[in-house]
Symmetry: C2
Subunit: 373 residues, 2 copies
């Protein structure tokens, strides 16, 4: 393998594949990046056995392709070396004793290569009928639901975001069993068979960080045990989480006894202040009490003090609600709304609280109340 | 105590005194801020027994002073409450049962007060003849020397910056015994008695973070066991470190056998790259070898690879040097220089390396070489 390439071009692509390099030192080959130089261009691949990332640099972006070939090299070292070299043309060449020689006029590095045959072989071939989304749509799904997924490994299925597709309806759900976020998307085309897969939340997070252009498309190729995302010149594979995602469809009521409408910033800031006098050990519980045209939010830590916040509301009928919930969970939910007004929907002080924006954004946030008596 | 004050004005001053609030929970009163409202204005004081900070808000910046008085209140809670309130006029009032009532139109907080008599009494009275510096000068001293002081508590005296003043000459020195940074300053006036004190580096760091205007003055009132800094409307007291600072005057040679001049950015970047192939456990040792008009910097980790960097130099005579040192220590030293060119001065491969900028900035950096044979 022998080529010349501009520093900034190689760096752009190393920035993608480095996310697939394992941070653990257990299996050295998973700390590596594979370089495959063909006459068409340079492929870079990394995998930590949970995700795999492959990018492609077209020959037109490479200064010269002198000898094609493959090498496997420590990902962290090649990344740092290229990052710290000046933005000039870099020579990369495999030399005797399977060493990689990386040099510019003033700098020369020799790195020991790993065996190409030790690098895992990863099947990144396409599915016949991918689901096509705008990158901004998948990013929005992630931003509006990911926080509600669990970080505890006790129920692995809850550490992912569930994608359930029937015909042209896609429902994306995350829950840690104390709260739930659900986003509905209407697809451009219908799927032939129903799909129900759960993608690890952290892998989706790595994916959306790689998106560069909101208007570009991302292609989702869904298999039984993996999902392959294709976008720009990048392929990312993620494992899927085994198991059946809980059926959450009956959790969200259709009818509500109490419907409160208020300004999103006002309620967010009031809860933020009230949360100052809550205990994390008690789930940052705050009290929420509705009256004719206002809500009083209160909390206290007996040894420190107490707080009372008032917000103006509109309410649809005479019913009032007195309920307690986690200020943190409520703020997490409110943060995902993009409207000026928020609707809070209740049936009783022991049933789920539903939070929706005023616009028809197909987003539902749910949090469970906390019993305080 | 009863007053009305704008949120942004109180917040500006809480931002200063919060730095004097203890982060440890051992002695609750040290987590507090003392409010003293007089007819002249509001004083805020905090102390963690190592530093103390006192600020003053003049009556002209207070909306109304209704009842003068003193209260002592949890620093972290009052800080967070004021920070999260909107930028409006805040009412603060001591009410029955020694509670502090903080309220705006929509928000009301009650906080339990601590006993004013439990708050440490701190003597912040002046010295007759302070040393006067521009804030930017003290900030520069900190930035150019602090990194060289020790973070290990085994020799407490080395965790400070030593200020030695004779007549109008001030020498500021920091060393962790592997490297040393020394800055010399010419004062505007002569001191009557020699001064030799060591100020905890972290306290100086907190101080310079509070400086707002480079051109403003800071007044140093030096006592036997403490130093008081006065600037703008703020007073900060710092303890001094007990003990005798080592005499470092003979460490820095006057004459050198080898004097090398090179571009600061070039050598910094070359060492930065070479350090990629060093081990932290071996003090990030790199090799430095001079030839006629270039220096070769090299390092290696046998199992990973090796690196060689070339830089162009000017050298004053025929002597060459082959020496090893910590890339980290050299980069820390180079970072403090403000000139385009750097001078590296050597006598042998086992004697200290002196690093100076080309301009006459009264700054000397020293690092010890590492024996590698």
């Amino acid at each position: 393998m022998k080529l010349k390439i501009k520093q900034n071009i190689l760096m752009e692509h190393l920035n993608y594949v480095i996310k697939g390099v394992s941070n653990k030192n257990l299996i050295p080959i998973l700390n590596c990046i594979k370089f495959e130089l063909t006459n068409e261009g340079l492929y870079l691949t990394s995998t930590d056995n949970d995700i795999a990332i492959k990018t492609f640099i077209d020959k037109k972006d490479i200064e010269s392709i002198d000898v094609t070939g493959e090498i496997v090299i420590s990902g962290r070292y090649i990344f740092d070396i290229i990052r710290k070299l000046p933005n000039t043309i870099i020579n990369i060449e495999e030399v005797v004793d399977s060493r990689l020689y990386i040099y510019t006029e003033k700098s020369s590095f020799y790195l020991n290569c790993n065996l190409v045959s030790d690098f895992p072989s990863i099947d990144l071939s396409d599915h016949k009928s991918p689901i096509i989304l705008d990158q901004k749509v998948l990013k929005m799904i992630y931003n509006q639901t990911s926080f509600a997924s669990s970080t505890q490994e006790t129920r692995p299925i809850l550490t992912g975001i569930n994608f359930k597709i029937t015909e042209d309806k896609m429902e994306c759900t995350a829950t840690d069993s104390y709260r739930l976020a659900k986003k509905e998307i209407l697809l451009n085309t219908k799927v032939e068979e129903d799909i129900n897969v759960t993608i690890p939340t952290k892998n989706l997070g790595e994916l959306v960080k790689m998106f560069i252009n909101d208007e570009d498309k991302v292609y989702l190729h869904i298999f039984n045990n993996k999902i392959i995302f294709k976008f720009n010149n990048i392929i990312m594979l993620s494992s899927l989480i085994n198991g059946t995602y809980p059926d959450t469809s009956k959790l969200i009521p259709n009818q509500f006894k109490i419907m409160i409408q208020t300004n999103l910033n006002d309620i967010y800031n009031a809860i933020d202040r009230a949360s100052l006098l809550t205990n994390e050990t008690e789930k940052n519980t705050i009290r929420f009490e509705s009256y004719k045209d206002e809500v009083i939010i209160s909390s206290n830590i007996p040894e420190i003090g107490n707080v009372e916040e008032k917000i103006s509301i509109k309410k649809q009928d005479e019913h009032d609600i007195k309920i307690s919930f986690s200020s943190k969970y409520m703020m997490d939910a409110l943060k995902t709304l993009e409207s000026e007004e928020v609707h809070l929907l209740f049936n009783s002080e022991i049933t789920p609280i539903i939070i929706k924006g005023s616009s028809n954004d197909q987003l539902t946030q749910l949090i469970l109340p906390i019993k305080t008596y």
